[in-house]
């Protein structure tokens, strides 16, 4: 390992500009002649739009245009789409309802745009928006996914009777039936995986600009995948041909999934920019982010696990209703299906699994991927069942897990996935030691002495990352391939630009990707720059989500570096007058094997460009190579998280007093960044478990519409985290990288809930486990005891 190469904890190159205010975000961009858009949004969850009178608004000072869904339709602007086709168990295709960028005829959630006002200044646009008269005809609202399929429930979209988008299933129902028939013990649980508001620190923003000279559009946008945004807006929405549309995603301040999707506002900014001939900027306010960013999770689940007399899991069945909100967001359909059902085997050898998922429309903002996307929900199901099963059978939860661990690889689960490598025993063992599991009983007694209840909770989670093999996802309904591209451009002076189709919005790619290049070419880290986030610079790419940038994005870079090395060796062979096969490249130096003849990296780079040592017929000048890397399998990061809590039974407050995380991410490029990812993921998972929950009232108003009511985790909510790693390399990619971005958010929620329920001695506890929820659970348990 070199000082800045793979495995080195080098400081992040990008942080200097971020922490000194020199980052360049979408809102920092100002275009000549720029004007401002303000979206008038439906205050009603479900309402017919009978009429929109914008005459008075249009006459207000500074107003350039007031546009509605009718204008959008008149210009034949296409609807937003969901790009993953899910087929129901009866063979029918999912029921995708039209999603116009501005509601036309009917508004379907509070926040649905009904008009856009474009004005010289933002206050002018807001003033004018107050003068737009919208005549609504209110319809009954539907917000509870559990009631969406009820007879008589409000019908949201014509194409989806009983609001049902699909009824999907996976696994072998008969085999599961048989397993439950012969089970010694069955554990049954009902729970809600609570709905979350992503809340990236930078709100969404867009600037649309039209250049009449070249008849082309440019969009500056807070997106995690600029090329996919361009593809959708070109091929489906029809804003411009792909070669006439440029999407730039400059510095982006966090995404967590919420910036993967194609949103109405960016479509409208582009469309309106061409219409009025001026660049248009829109920046979401925090309140708008709450109302309109795609939310996460929101599952209602019943799950059962069957055990044999030895405590071996013999079957698992799961029935989930997934709330997808008012419209199908870009990848929404895949989250509660192929990112959820396929992970229900956890780390365990489970012979039979059957999972049914009904996805439903409700009058709430669309729900789509959010850090972990389906996998936290799956982990919650499996890890809750095994924990509670252990408690019910009187088996130590660590022992029960070990008994059921998959021990040989590759392992084919009953739910599609082939786990290729892992050592679940190693991570559990290390975590038990670090958490001092042996000393738990003593600590529990100490807690009782100061009127507290102590509990411990495990989460031996698995996830599927490195998303994803294109052929595999294609066969499951995905509309795109999920490979990644890279281009390595060596300059004549030997410095390097790496172009990647991944996009960084907090991950530190500018550092980690450079580390891989630095090690491979033996050049200093500062001689490498990483270029991303601009469709005019990077030819194509699939963006960043699903912990894919290391496993897929870096693999593409490695593939391009292979080509660079091969070409550079040819150049060196000509320079050193040796046979190509005799050239050895090591530590940034080309040598002729068995001689002292050598050429430095910089000399070879220069020679590639001056081309004095070879004729054009022998070798092309230049040193630039590109590669597309398509993974052959998902990667399977896994590990063990142990959470220890103290509960104050009088107030219901839970304090996390210790956290141990032992993760297997395969090869780690930068352990400091990985540790940071684990910290952030745990914080988000703790947020879901203890603090966060989006609540819509019965009329469809978002009650938790601001940070005054929606609680994000703070530093004080977390203890010092013990983060360690074990390693089994991922066999499917050249460096053995598995991915780490989502692990914490996947592992954490269930570890917290397992810990609190252990402390309070009752399993009936919702998320978020607020003090009130824990107090109520204790009250209920007390009442039950009294009644008995």
């Amino acid at each position: 390992m070199s000082a800045t190469g793979i495995g080195a904890a080098v400081r992040r190159k990008e942080d200097q500009r971020f922490v000194t205010g020199k980052g360049h975000y979408t809102d920092d961009v100002s275009r000549p002649g720029q004007c401002h858009a303000y979206f008038l949004r439906s205050p009603h969850a479900h309402a017919k739009i009978k009429n929109i009178d914008s005459e008075a608004a249009a006459a207000m000072p500074g107003v350039l245009a007031v546009l509605t869904g009718a204008d959008l339709a008149a210009d034949k602007i296409g609807n937003l789409i969901c790009g993953w086709m899910i087929t129901s168990k009866d063979g029918s295709q999912m029921k995708m309802a039209p999603h116009p960028a501005i509601a036309h005829g009917k508004a379907n959630y509070v926040g649905d745009p009904v008009a856009v006002v474009v004005a010289e200044t933002l206050p002018q646009a807001k003033d004018a928006a107050e003068k737009v008269k919208v005549d609504y005809d209110l319809l009954p609202a539907l917000c509870d996914p559990a009631k969406a399929q009820d007879q008589g429930a409000p019908q949201i979209h014509e194409v989806a009777p009983r609001n049902t988008i699909y009824q999907w299933h996976l696994g072998d129902a008969k085999a599961v039936e048989a397993a439950f028939k012969t089970a010694r013990h069955v554990t049954k649980l009902d729970f809600i995986n609570n709905r979350l508001v992503p809340n990236a620190i930078e709100p969404r923003a867009a600037i649309g600009e039209y250049d009449a000279g070249s008849e082309s559009l440019t969009l500056w946008n807070t997106t995690q995948n600029p090329h996919v945004a361009r593809l959708v807006m070109s091929a489906f929405v029809g804003l411009a041909p792909e070669h006439k549309l440029r999407v730039i995603a400059p510095d982006v301040g966090g995404g967590f999934g919420s910036k993967i999707f194609i949103y109405p506002e960016e479509v409208v900014c582009l469309w309106a920019a061409r219409k009025i001939g001026r660049p248009i900027k829109w920046v979401a306010e925090r309140s708008e982010a709450f109302l309109t960013d795609a939310h996460g999770r929101d599952h209602v689940t019943h799950a059962e696990m069957a055990f044999d007399p030895d405590g071996k899991v013999t079957g698992l069945r799961v029935k989930t209703v997934a709330n997808l909100g008012a419209y199908m967001s870009t990848f929404s359909s895949s989250v509660p299906t192929y990112l959820y059902g396929t992970l229900l085997s956890g780390q365990y050898e489970i012979p039979a699994i059957y999972c049914e998922v009904d996805a439903v429309y409700t009058n709430t903002v669309p729900v789509d991927a959010y850090r972990g996307a389906g996998r936290p929900e799956a982990t919650f199901v499996v890890e809750r069942l095994i924990e509670v099963g252990g408690r019910q059978m009187g088996v130590d939860p660590a022992d029960l897990r070990q008994k059921n661990f998959i021990k040989t690889f590759p392992h084919q689960t009953p739910v599609i996935m082939i786990y290729d490598a892992g050592d679940y025993h190693a991570s559990l063992k290390k975590a038990l030691e670090l958490a001092d599991y042996a000393g738990l009983a003593k600590r529990k007694r100490e807690s009782v002495r100061h009127d507290k209840l102590r509990g411990i909770g495990f989460s031996t989670y698995i996830e599927a990352c490195g998303i994803a093999p294109s052929q595999a996802v294609g066969s499951l309904g995905c509309g795109v391939g999920l490979w990644e591209s890279a281009e390595v451009r060596v300059n004549p002076t030997g410095t390097v630009e790496v172009l990647t189709g991944c996009h960084q919005h907090g991950q530190g790619h500018e550092t980690t990707f450079a580390q891989v290049v630095s090690e491979r070419l033996g050049i200093p880290l500062e001689n490498v720059s990483v270029v991303h986030g601009d469709t005019d610079k990077v030819q194509f790419g699939m963006g960043t989500y699903g912990s894919r940038s290391g496993a897929v994005g870096i693999s593409a870079i490695v593939k391009a570096l292979d080509k660079i090395e091969a070409k550079a060796k040819k150049v060196a062979a000509h320079m050193l007058e040796a046979a190509e096969g005799d050239i050895v490249f090591e530590d940034g130096k080309f040598t002729v094997a068995g001689t002292d003849k050598s050429a430095a990296w910089g000399e070879v780079a220069l020679n590639a460009y001056i081309a004095h040592k070879f004729a054009g017929q022998e070798l092309e000048p230049g040193l630039k190579e590109g590669a597309f890397y398509d993974p052959t399998n998902f990667t399977f990061p896994a590990g063990c998280h142990i959470c220890e809590v103290e509960v104050d039974p009088q107030t219901g407050e839970s304090e996390i007093v210790a956290w141990t995380a032992v993760d297997d991410f395969g090869t780690v490029v930068n352990p400091m960044i990985v540790e940071g990812q684990v910290h952030g993921g745990i914080a988000q998972g703790v947020g879901q478990a203890l603090l966060e929950g989006a609540i819509y009232d019965k009329d469809g108003q978002l009650v938790t519409g601001s940070l005054m009511d929606y609680c994000m985790p703070r530093a004080q909510d977390l203890p010092a985290l013990k983060v360690e790693m074990t390693k089994t390399a991922a066999p499917s990619n050249p460096l053995g990288i598995k991915g780490c971005g989502e692990a914490g958010a996947i592992a954490a929620p269930v570890a917290v809930i397992n810990a609190i329920t252990d402390a309070i001695g009752t399993e009936d506890l919702p998320m978020p486990a607020t003090p009130q929820a824990v107090w109520r659970a204790l009250q209920k348990a007390n009442d039950r005891r009294t009644a008995a």
């Binding site: 807001k126 609540i695 009650v703 107090w775």
Partner: protein, 265 residues
């Protein structure tokens, strides 16, 4: 935010005159409630009368047996004041638990109690210590000052200039913060001054800050947590929202009162 005119009077008299003369005028005394509300266009005063340049409105001084706190004194000044920490540490501690550092450096005691947010901390201390609110017109005892949700005894052109806190023998404030906003979901302030005992609750009451006389009576016999063991307040009359039902709030009043008494005793 709607357009408005900002005035920066130099004296209380000028400020009062602006309040009377200008239509739809509001005092600005920290602005941590008013400014966010204006940004959301939920409030749109035409005139803001900024008290930050008025001489003599801030500072803490001992006058006889009372601590006098200027209305424009920030929370952080109360929190860190040596004389406050020495004389009424419970009040210094309360100020240190308000909001976050940004709020504590801009927010003022006068602004807080004039706003009388039912979840704010200061009303608990003002009523819990039996303080006197001094305005440009008169002196108002705390018992007469708080009139319900966001309502006070203040008249339209009346400006708080000082709050006078009597020194007490014992006092403590225990706060159970709303996890999101950090306002008090329930906060209980207790004090003992010779024979006068006060138990005051903020955050929980459906009608704002209130005294719990049953607790006060019980504590008169002996000022210790055991004296109020098992006592509760009725859930009827408590506020209820997504963060805490009336039952939960009523329960917390009992728990926090015992903890406050234990801390003060």
């Amino acid at each position: 935010m709607y357009a408005f005119t900002q005035h920066r009077p130099a004296t209380v008299r000028q400020a009062a005159s602006l309040l009377t003369k200008q239509e739809e005028a509001k005092l600005l005394a920290g602005g941590h409630t008013l400014i966010p509300t204006m940004k959301l266009r939920l409030a749109g005063p035409k005139h803001l009368v900024d008290l930050s340049k008025v001489e003599g409105l801030s500072g803490i001084e001992m006058k006889g047996r009372s601590l006098v706190v200027g209305a424009m004194t920030t929370h952080v000044e109360v929190e860190t004041s040596p004389i406050m920490k020495e004389s009424i540490p419970a009040l210094a501690g309360l100020a240190g638990k308000i909001g976050d550092p940004a709020v504590r450096h801009r927010g003022t005691i006068g602004g807080s109690i004039a706003n009388n947010d039912p979840n704010a901390d200061y009303p608990a201390a003002v009523l819990g210590l039996g303080a006197t609110i001094i305005t440009n017109k008169r002196r108002i005892h705390a018992d007469e000052f708080f009139k319900g949700l966001f309502e006070t005894a203040l008249e339209d052109d009346e400006i708080i200039t000082k709050v006078q806190f009597p020194k007490v023998n014992k006092a403590a404030y225990v706060k159970f913060p709303n996890p999101a906003s950090r306002y008090a979901l329930v906060g209980v302030f207790v004090s003992k001054r010779s024979s006068e005992i006060r138990v005051v609750v903020t955050g929980a009451g459906a009608n704002g800050v209130f005294r719990v006389t049953t607790f006060e009576e019980a504590l008169k016999k002996r000022f210790g947590p055991k004296s109020i063991e098992g006592l509760t307040v009725p859930a009827d009359g408590m506020a209820s929202d997504i963060h805490g039902s009336a039952e939960y709030r009523a329960h917390l009043v009992g728990v926090l009162a015992r903890r406050a008494v234990a801390a003060a005793a």
